[in-house]
Amino acid sequence: MDRYFLIASTICFLAAVVHTVIELRTKVFRPMRFNFIAIGLGFIFQTVFLWIRGQALGRCPITNLFEVFAFLAWSVALIYMVVGPAYRLSLMGAFTAPLVLLLQVFALIAPIDSRHQMTVPVNSWLEFHASMSLVAYGVFALACIAGVMYLLQERQLKTHHLHSIFYHLPPLTNLFAVITRLLWWGFALYTIGIVSGFFTGHPLPRVQVVAAIGLWFLYAAILQARHLKWLAPKRVAALCIIGFSAALALLWGITFTAELHRVP
């Protein structure tokens, strides 16, 4: 039953994507209000889905890969809704919707919604650690989206070939400021997530810990290089995409190994 809300949410994000594609094809590009409304509706359906699932489980709904992806998609939409008031009019929604759509379609199609008998009692530190990390991933996802927008804008300016989308992208310096801010927020949340993991009272798999700390170091290195002006903005934008890809791989690895451990 709760899946219907996730399906409804996915349809909203699909509508935003289709609308963007149609507008791009006709070159009459005004996706802003429609996209914001579609994403807003999608976010409401996501929230209802997570709430119902959480009530049924009696805990934070991140017990399998399906729920983790749904929670991550919710985090991305949440951060967009927070960052959105400043940037939604400049196309960020058009880039956010496809990512959320991909995450949710994967979650719905892949056979990953396996229900488990919850034998472990609710551990609030563990739930805090996992949800905080996922929200941090949502922020990194938005940084990745801003990175894609930066690279698109930068390439058009360098090659002198301006597509109609050019006029709707935020200025380069504004985009870079957004990327920097998102990286700092994501890094701070991720640090809190990692640190809280040590208070769970459960022994954590060494591979997961090493990979998570590796990702933390990757983002720390990007921020340090940005702070010391070692990297050009274009490279920082590219690293945001690489960083989020690594985060997704890590997330899948963590959840996958957790599922393996559950198999009797």
């Binding site: 009459v28 310096t173 870079f176 002006k229």
Partner: protein, 356 residues
Amino acid sequence: MNLFCVGLSHHTANVATREQFAGNATAESIAREVGCVEALLLTTCNRVEVYAVSDKRISTDEITRRLMAKTNRDPDNYFPPFYRYEDNKCVQHLFRVASGLDSMVVGESEIFGQAKKAYESARTSGAVGPYLHRLFQRAFRVAKQVRTHTNIARGAVSVGSVAVELAQRIFGKLNDCKVLVLGAGETSERTTRALVSRGVTDLRVSNRSLDRARDLAQTVGGQAVPFDDWVVQCREIDILLTSTASEMPLLTSEMLAPMSRERLDRPLFIIDIAVPRDVDPRVNELEGVYLYDIDSIRSVAEQSLALRQQQVAAAEAIIADHVTEFFDSISRGLNRFSKGVDHPSIGENPIHASEL
């Protein structure tokens, strides 16, 4: 009852012909002398048009004669290329004109202001009555809708506006940008003015002749920089506008590379409108440097024009909807009038006082 438009424009007449018909009449004089119930004269550098409402058919020749300057030409043997639109064609034409679709540069917005001015002038003189009032108010509404719902006015189409548009795409607001103008030519002055109009305040001007640099600096509100010092300025500035008469490139990638490493997080936008070019094209390969020469600026302008052309169909669709709906509503009023009802005064049906 007739609603019609008689005029000529850049589509049908060259400037020599157009100037013979500009400035010789007013809306009020046309209305009085030709016998129109309402009249409005729209005169711009690209068109001379009369929009009128009359109770009997008034020939194009009558309007033409009234518009023509008193010259030695025999008006009976002179046939200027006037066009005439009636009823819904007239409505459609005005909507196209007000939306910038009939302009030389498609989508330009100046015509909107000019049409408003013409309307105000005719209204003040009493030449505009309820019908033209309603027609022009709708035309302004349609023009706004076309601009909002299409990309018809998107993109810059002159050197100055392209430079400003690109600078805004890179830096956002230009208030904090430092600009160095190298060379004090006419185009650089126009481009500098365009940048200043968008908020640039830190302006430096350098020229081989320091006096000319001072003159331009004074004109645009900047400060003159000795020509020997301009390269050092590249460490600080955000925008370089160059247009000297130098035969050799003044700025090469070897000169700029060490500086661009120091300013990795600050982009440098270079507008090189000099021919031959002042800046080595390889400079564009440097990280964070965006070089536009005169050809690439023209190319951007052409892309903007092409983009605008692609919007014409969407704009025409909006206009078509309004034409049908508007003409249906106004023709009811016109027919009533032609059946013997007095010309309605403002406040009577079919035009409501609230529309005024």
